[in-house]
Point group: C2
Chain length 354, copies 2
């Protein structure tokens, strides 16, 4: 199982060790901007069919690696597999994003909530991880991931994305005990889920806190960060003799970086609104940083993409501890050839800068 | 014209002078959560008819003051009056928010853009300001306002709100010269517009940069903050022998507070994601702070509203330089009686704390 990594720049950067170039991967790198992804998805049927088939998940996870010189692969999956396994009935209304058939709308359904066994109802994910790891054969490391307890709770309580969080925030302020109950179950579930991914072959894991940034600071710390901390403390940190780095990303969390860096993670993901040089000055002595180009830069011509990539690298300021990425998932409208320009520019400039 | 103010707590707090209580007003305090507003709007016809009639604008501006012990009034108007006066054809699609008939989609329309004379095409606004000031008769101060050049440009280029800013960001990165041209015209227009409001009786002004927070830091400073600074430098700062304080609010700008506080404004508006105590430690020696309760707290029962109001006050930490507000506009689904609870709690707690 333990094929040595031929490219370990991503893992080394997360450990803040020197690397010959700045590694880069891209959030949602296997996705709708790639024609080959759309072709596989059409063959698979629905998006959920794609997620739930380890064969298809392996195929699309590897697609961007064949096109671009990326330094990491990330498990192809959905952020909402856990609530689906809890029985909430995930489905995708065409053109409307994820929804749940049975959102948490009463106390009874919240009290009945149970963390799923990742090796049972989520077996398709651990199987996909094993299969992808095998298919990668040491080419680059494989990242596992999960949504954060709070982000999952937003979807579970609202029933869908794209809201102003009226329901979840009303519960947060009026019935904090109920929200804490959901978050506790989610934290147990996420910990077991990520540990199962690690045991199945994930070489690093990332927690996506997509909606934590919608909270006031005190609420963020109590209802999102505290649970992220609990998960980080419960993760398997060494597997097969290798340390497994943990990345925590709260979109819109730029003002709270010091708090995020203090929860025991190895790296902090940055959205594009934060200057990465300022972020490094604030927390770079404790964690590696991942990010943070504005995804919309990829709509620009190649010379602009190269200039803006150089700007992020130069703001970080050289040395170790930087994993290049976008500040959010890549847009489906991105021309794939622009991704090649970005990946190559990051490698070229960072090699020259060492 | 110069009736002395019977309640000048708002103006004094902006000047960081002592006040007997922390003044409070609420963004979008005249609006759809109030049945009397909806009644007036029904009489007026459309939302734009309401905005464009000084009589109706005066009526709805004063409505929340009759219900709640608010310490300031804010001109009832729309954020998009300037681009409408530029000929872009503002309209409201039912249930869809503002749109423009003629968004800026080519170089020619951008080069043809001209700043409107506020006393001509925007006369309905300056007339409303004079009339409201007269109707207030010294009860509380009147705030004038405008959208920021960048925020106006977002609507003008996208043609509507609620987008991911693909068009405006593509222009920003690919044709920055064109975007700068729009922003220059907008900055001239906003400066003239706010000065006309001041000359007509506005006793403080606020710049709403609703979308600046969607930018990367370097882009924010170049394409939003630089123009805010230019406007602040061009404003009439003393009128009728009184200083006219300027508040600048960039939603999502919490990481950039030091930069915002440095542009010459008197106060910085905070959204709810920033802890106001941390913000005060960062910039409270230079500016007053306005904010920053999460608007969704107002969906909670009275005791929670009181507790969360106390939390903001206590985080600020007493003393002068605080104007209480929400961190964003009030939701149309807010029960009006909850606003009374908030206003009274802020007054009660802050009086007790002095």
């Amino acid at each position: 199982m333990n094929t040595p990594l031929r490219n370990d720049t991503f893992i080394r950067a997360l450990r803040r060790q020197p690397t010959p170039h700045t590694p880069i991967w891209i959030m949602r790198q296997a996705g709708r901007y790639l024609p080959e992804y759309n072709a596989t998805r059409a063959r698979a049927g629905s998006f959920l069919d794609l997620c739930k088939s380890p064969d298809y998940a392996t195929e699309v996870t590897l697609q961007p690696l064949d096109r671009f010189a990326l330094d990491a692969a990330i498990l192809f999956s959905d952020i909402l597999t856990i609530p689906d396994a809890m029985g909430l009935g995930l489905y995708f209304a065409e053109g409307e994003g994820p929804r749940f058939e049975h959102p948490l709308r009463d106390e009874q359904s919240i009290l009945a909530l149970k963390a799923p066994d990742p090796y049972a109802t989520l077996r398709y994910v651990t199987d996909a991880v094993s299969q992808i790891r095998k298919a990668l054969d040491g080419r680059v490391p494989l990242i596992g991931f999960s949504g954060s307890p709070f982000t999952l709770a937003c979807y579970m309580i609202e029933g869908q994305g794209g809201t102003e969080f009226e329901r979840v925030k009303t519960m947060l302020y009026s019935r904090p005990d109920l929200l804490h109950r959901v978050l506790e179950v989610n934290a147990v579930a996420v910990t077991a889920y990520l540990n199962a991914q690690i045991e199945s072959g994930a070489q690093a894991v990332m927690l996506f806190d997509t909606w934590g940034g919608a909270l006031a600071e005190a609420a963020y710390r109590e209802f999102s960060l505290a649970y992220l901390q609990r998960i980080v403390a419960g993760l398997v940190r060494v597997h097969d003799g290798e340390s497994v780095p943990v990345i925590v990303f709260t979109k819109g969390g730029g003002v709270w970086l010091e708090h995020i860096a203090a929860i025991g993670c190895d790296a902090v993901g940055l959205d594009w609104t934060v200057d990465i040089g300022s972020a490094r000055a604030r927390i770079g002595d404790r964690v590696a940083l991942q990010g943070n180009l504005d995804p919309s830069v990829l709509f620009s011509p190649p010379e602009v993409i190269r200039r803006e990539a150089a700007r992020v690298l130069s703001s970080f300021g050289g040395g170790s501890g930087h994993v290049f990425n976008l500040g959010h998932g890549i847009s489906r409208f991105t021309p794939p050839e622009h991704v090649a320009v970005l990946v190559d520019a990051v490698h070229e400039f960072s090699r020259a800068g060492r």
